[in-house]
Symmetry: C2
Subunit: 325 residues, 2 copies
């Protein structure tokens, strides 16, 4: 018995077989080709699901106990879990496509839809950093700031399936413009994009900074530039890192004050900075949270599953539903 | 059959009998005398509960069907719902007092504890502005900004019963200091206290403003001052009101992006400004929310029950528990 998870990204479609415990047994990947029509991408999604089924027969044996139970689809954008319709995905240029129904028709398997950030959060919850807990908020610091929220073991998504967009909560009224139309969003400061912007600004102001040489070496200004400089003792680099951590702590404290989850997991490339990021971050949050004197407080952890979280979470996020049907 | 709700405030203890539908049948009130020891305040809480029981016999008839089923206690501070212990209440100067257990002993009734803001939110949810819906966030704009969050018909309070402290979420990093130790919290701008501070600052800068004469008339700078001036066409007063609504819209948009509830209810004195507040507020939020193009969005409403919400909500917030026991 296994569950198929599909993580539909702007670049790749990844699919895999996941057991009930959230272990990813194997995975496959194909280019999304998002410039193509929905029907063509759908054909590839159905095809990769069939490939997973075929491979499962080879890898796991083809007895009844190895049959796929369901398919979970993690997709960027507004995903209506009730209808299985992707109402809008800017990333894929999809408008009101009945993805779950189409996949169900194409594969003969019960299919469920989940927003991709929610799916990834559920993956970390069921099999990663938050395994064994009751609630978690998972924040991904990438091009933007994505988030998924798990309350009492279930994905929380509000009444219109769009809840948890904490990356677009303002932490600095009248701050720099965000892609969402607001100003000073958490995402503006705490995404990798935001870190790169702040690094570029600091480099312009500080021609003597080690960040210039580092940029030449890396070939571009990256989210690592300021961290490398700071570790070398560069004052301007250190200031960028301190500011970045200050804003990140501000946004994370807001999330903890709001949800008081068992843990808050952060993922994305910047987490490779490890304790250099995590130790001061935890220190600032501990000082700022409303419950700083409570016995029980949210643990801040680093995500463990990387890109596999999306496949695992998509596979299992709606398994209760499957079993009830 | 009825349920007793007790709203324990810094000034008054109010208690009443509530039916299953959330109708407050009658209420009583006594001064809290919060400078006294816990044991003395407890004696008064037990006494007012007994008074409610006695009055119920007179008002409702003393048959079995009129017996009190349980007591719900709404209390400011950190309230552990599982143990019934008030872990900390700065307002009442209580530390780790076993309130529910003590009330149960004193009255013979099953007693349940709830944070007072959560209780008030549940009151609005079960019998007020949010009646009949599935989820709601209730925000009270008073001395501070209090909030209660209802998800799937239940009070949401996180893993340590302290969730939903959205008044202490920063919306302006490095903004004015908040009582909680952070800077630029939602509460700093959107509480009545914040409005009064912004009014006083504007008055200092604008000696010609109508706000000075209004203040003389009212006897003090109040949360109404700037609104009265703005309605008279005073530019400085209008600017204060515009700024106040801008910050309030910012904080409310954050809450909607996060929870996407069926409705967001606002309460507190400033809501008496009615459409003068509500129309521009709704306009700004509609422009700012992440789901501005969605078919289903959160309704912004004014609370209906005033102070009764706390009694009604305390009475019923944990009634499921009562029935299961």
């Amino acid at each position: 018995m296994y569950y198929i998870g599909v993580d539909i990204g702007g670049t790749n479609i990844s699919a895999g077989a996941v057991n009930r415990e959230g272990e990813l047994l194997f995975k496959k990947s194909v280019k999304t080709g998002r410039e193509r029509a929905y029907s063509e991408v759908l054909t590839d999604i159905v095809e990769i699901i069939k490939q997973v089924q075929n491979e499962a027969c080879i890898v796991l044996g083809d007895g009844f106990e190895h049959a796929a139970q369901s398919v979970g689809l993690g997709c960027p954008g507004s995903c209506n879990k009730s209808t299985g319709v992707v109402e809008f995905s800017g990333n894929l240029n999809w408008h009101n496509v009945p993805l779950a129904e189409d996949v169900q028709k194409g594969t003969g398997l019960p299919a469920f839809l989940e927003n991709d950030a929610n799916a990834a959060a559920y993956g970390e919850f069921i099999a990663g950093a938050a395994k064994g807990l009751n609630s978690a908020v998972v924040i991904t610091l990438g091009t933007g700031v994505g988030a998924g929220i798990i309350i009492n073991g279930k994905v929380f998504c509000g009444e219109n399936f769009a809840g948890g967009e904490i990356g677009h909560n303002v932490i600095s009224v009248d701050g720099p413009a965000c892609t969402c139309g607001r100003s000073g969003c958490f995402e503006v400061f705490s995404s990798a994009t935001g870190l790169i912007r702040m690094t570029a600004q600091a480099m312009e102001k500080n021609p003597e900074s080690a960040m210039h040489a580092i940029t030449q070496e890396l070939g571009k200004i990256s989210a690592r530039t300021a961290f490398i400089a700071a570790r070398q003792g560069d004052a301007a680099g250190k200031k960028v890192v301190d500011d970045y951590i200050k804003y990140l702590a501000c946004g994370i404290t807001n999330v903890i004050n709001t949800f008081q989850p068992d843990c808050l997991c952060i993922g994305g490339g910047v987490c490779n900075e490890g304790d250099y990021l995590l130790v001061p971050l935890r220190g600032l949050v501990a000082k700022e949270i409303y419950t700083r004197n409570s016995e029980k407080n949210t643990e801040i952890l680093i995500c463990k599953l990387g890109n596999d979280a999306g496949i695992i979470g998509a596979a299992l996020a709606n398994v209760q539903l499957t079993i009830n049907i």
